[in-house]
């Protein structure tokens, strides 16, 4: 197990190196010179050159890459040129917001999808199952920004129950969390359902039946654990993806998350912040999935106790 853990960590480091390198290259491929953005369209060539020099943009790419990697390792991504503060500080400000949102969404999705999936699996092909599966398909088939705005108009504008934006109260988290959680609920419900149905055909379920165990007991002892272990991976992946992929929801609800920070930094070519965002998002993604893999290995004795 220890060897497995070390190997996974090494691979994660490799992935992070890859992400860092890709973002470094991409950011330099994007047209539009940050110096031009700072100095404005009337800046003279000398001014631009001076700015580039000041920003280190005129150094050979490999040198830039080297110092960039050095920065990645030490967590120093340089300063945001729009805000004169370390890029990492901005990321550290935004990430917890998104992380909170993503965490609540995943948690909420689990809490809701679990009973739905179980009910659908137990009553497979009955009306309740059809309602649950069709409902989950519908929820997954709507663009999240549309759902977001509709929820906003209903709960915020018409009913005035919930705030439409801001992060000043716990209530303001409800709508964005819901929007993020809905597709996840749909996905997890279907996964839990199909996982339970699949497990239902396994030999050990028949063994449990032959031992005279009642269906609910079989479901909650033998079936669920086996059905849920593979789902952990999906949950981890979803959680990781939400960290970087909540930008639509963050935009609709004016939520100061890392997705919005990334997008607005891309728009003004704030390289340091873009790089910091992408690498932190990727690191969080990789870390979560690493933990999930380890959790998976831990929960499945076949992996845990493998030599």
């Amino acid at each position: 197990m220890l060897g497995y853990v070390i190997r996974r960590i090494l691979l994660a480091v490799f992935v992070l190196w890859g992400v860092s390198t890709v973002v470094f290259i991409i950011v330099r491929l994007v047209p539009a010179d940050p110096a031009l953005l700072i100095a404005g369209d009337t800046a003279t060539a000398d001014q631009l050159a001076a700015l580039r020099n000041q920003m280190g943009l005129d150094r050979p790419p490999l040198v830039q890459y080297g110092s960039f990697l050095g920065g990645v390792v030490t967590g120093d991504f340089g300063s945001s040129y729009t805000q004169s503060v370390p890029a990492m500080q901005l990321v550290a400000q935004a990430l917890p917001n998104t992380a909170l949102l993503a965490f609540l969404a995943v948690l909420g999705a689990l809490v809701v999808s679990f009973p739905l999936g179980v009910v659908a699996a137990v009553r497979v092909n009955r009306p309740i199952d059809r309602i649950v599966t069709t409902g989950s398909l519908i929820v997954q088939a709507l663009p999240s920004f549309w759902i977001g705005v509709v929820l906003l108009l209903i709960f915020s504008r018409t009913l005035k129950w919930l705030p439409s934006a801001d992060l000043t109260s716990a209530q303001s988290l409800i709508l964005p969390t819901t929007v993020l959680a809905l597709p996840l609920i749909a996905l997890l419900t279907r996964l839990i359902r199909s996982g339970l149905i699949e497990v239902n055909g396994e030999g050990y379920i028949n063994t449990a039946r032959a031992k005279g165990m009642r269906e609910p007991a079989i479901l909650f002892t033998h079936a669920i654990r086996n059905a849920l272990i593979p789902i952990i991976t999906v949950v981890g992946l979803a959680f990781g993806t939400l960290l970087g992929g909540a930008v639509v929801t963050e935009t609709v609800f004016s939520f100061p998350g890392i997705g919005k920070l990334l997008v607005s930094s891309i728009h003004v070519r704030d390289y340091s912040v873009v790089q910091a965002c992408v690498i932190v998002i990727a690191a969080a993604f990789v870390l979560i999935n690493l933990l999930v893999d380890l959790l998976y290995a831990y929960l499945d004795p076949r992996v845990r106790l493998a030599k």
Partner: protein, 342 residues
């Protein structure tokens, strides 16, 4: 003919389990398969009945039907009865049948790896019947489990009780399955191809263990197998199945030594070891029938060397042919000829 059979068994003693005219259908995307078509047999206390058949003959479906383990919703009992202790298991709700499982009728399966839950320690799995069915405390249940594991021959059971299934060999896993099955001292143990996945030396050990346990507890056994040799030592009676029906049944020596159904005879002739070396085998021609499209009349007639046009007309029922031993029943209109050929 059923009446006849029933009368026979009454003569001996009242059977522990009595399956009557059992019919099971499976719904598949290609149509409806009649997996069992009028299967009847009795099991007496303490005896071992072997149910033999090739793949698709319905032998495993029989055990699933008894244990209410038919895969839902594809498979269902559409007729007949399974009488146990005055209760018709075929009519009872599944939950009622479950109450009898393990305490009255227990079962072990072909593949001991997939039959054990990979994420639970074997101790917990063996202790489960004690805890769930008898409401024992964890400690006590585990102590009982340990006893059982020792009894079925798990070496170093004290340590291994907390191991997981994948850490055991195939034979050990089957021993664990057996421990679980006999935990609540069932009156009938159904062993569905218990040794098919095992090596021949392990197979012998497992068969020996089952026989010992039966001698100890006096439980009845239903041994389901495709291998005529495996059951020969342990079973007293045998039922040969073909295409969802029992085509021959009787005392095992009687059936093996004097098969009255051309299929049984062909089966015995097909076994390589039964021949002088160098001589070609005498196989049954053709392939087993498709359950979705059974031939009219006797399902075996297309492969039968002695088939006559009448074989196509009606499904032959089990009968006691002339000259046959008591309780030897054959579903063949030409059973007498088979015997005379012998």
């Amino acid at each position: 003919m059923t009446e006849q059979l029933v009368a026979d068994s009454r003569r001996a003693q009242s059977p522990l389990l009595s399956v009557r005219d059992l019919q099971v259908e499976f719904t598949t995307s290609a149509g409806i398969a009649r997996a069992l078509d009028g299967v009847s047999f009795d099991v007496q206390a303490g005896e071992t009945l072997a149910i033999l058949g090739e793949s698709g003959s319905g032998k495993s479906v029989t055990s699933q039907a008894i244990m209410a383990l038919l895969p839902k919703p594809a498979g269902s009992i559409v007729g007949g009865s399974i009488l146990y202790d005055g209760i018709d298991l075929a009519k009872e709700p599944v939950s009622r049948v479950r109450d009898l499982c393990a305490t009255d009728i227990a079962m072990i399966f072909q593949d001991p790896l997939s039959s054990l839950n990979p994420v639970f320690r074997i101790g917990d799995q063996v202790a489960e019947p004690f805890r769930r069915r008898l409401g024992m405390g964890k400690k006590e249940a585990l102590a009982r489990a340990l006893e059982l594991l020792k009894r079925v021959g798990i070496a170093d059971a004290e340590r291994r009780i907390s191991n997981y299934p994948h850490q055991f060999s195939g034979g050990q896993r089957q021993r664990i399955m057996i421990a679980m099955a006999i935990a609540l001292k069932p009156r009938i143990l159904i062993a569905d191809e218990p040794t098919t996945a095992l090596d021949v030396t392990v197979q012998a050990q497992i068969m020996r263990l089952l026989a010992e346990l039966q001698a100890e507890t006096g439980m009845a056994m239903i041994l389901i197998s495709h291998d005529l040799g495996v059951v020969a030592d342990s079973a007293s009676r045998v039922a040969i199945m073909y295409a969802g029906r029992i085509i021959e049944t009787g005392g095992i020596r009687e059936v093996y030594d004097h098969p009255q159904h051309p299929y049984t005879k062909g089966l015995l002739d097909s076994i390589p070891g039964a021949h002088a070396m160098g001589e070609p085998l005498r196989p049954i021609v053709g392939s087993p029938p498709n359950l979705l499209d059974l031939p009219a009349g006797c399902a075996f007639h297309p492969r039968c060397p002695i088939a006559v046009p009448e074989c196509r007309a009606a499904v032959p029922s089990l009968r006691e042919p002339e000259g046959a031993a008591l309780g030897h029943h054959v579903a063949c209109i030409r059973a007498e000829e088979v015997r005379s050929h012998d």
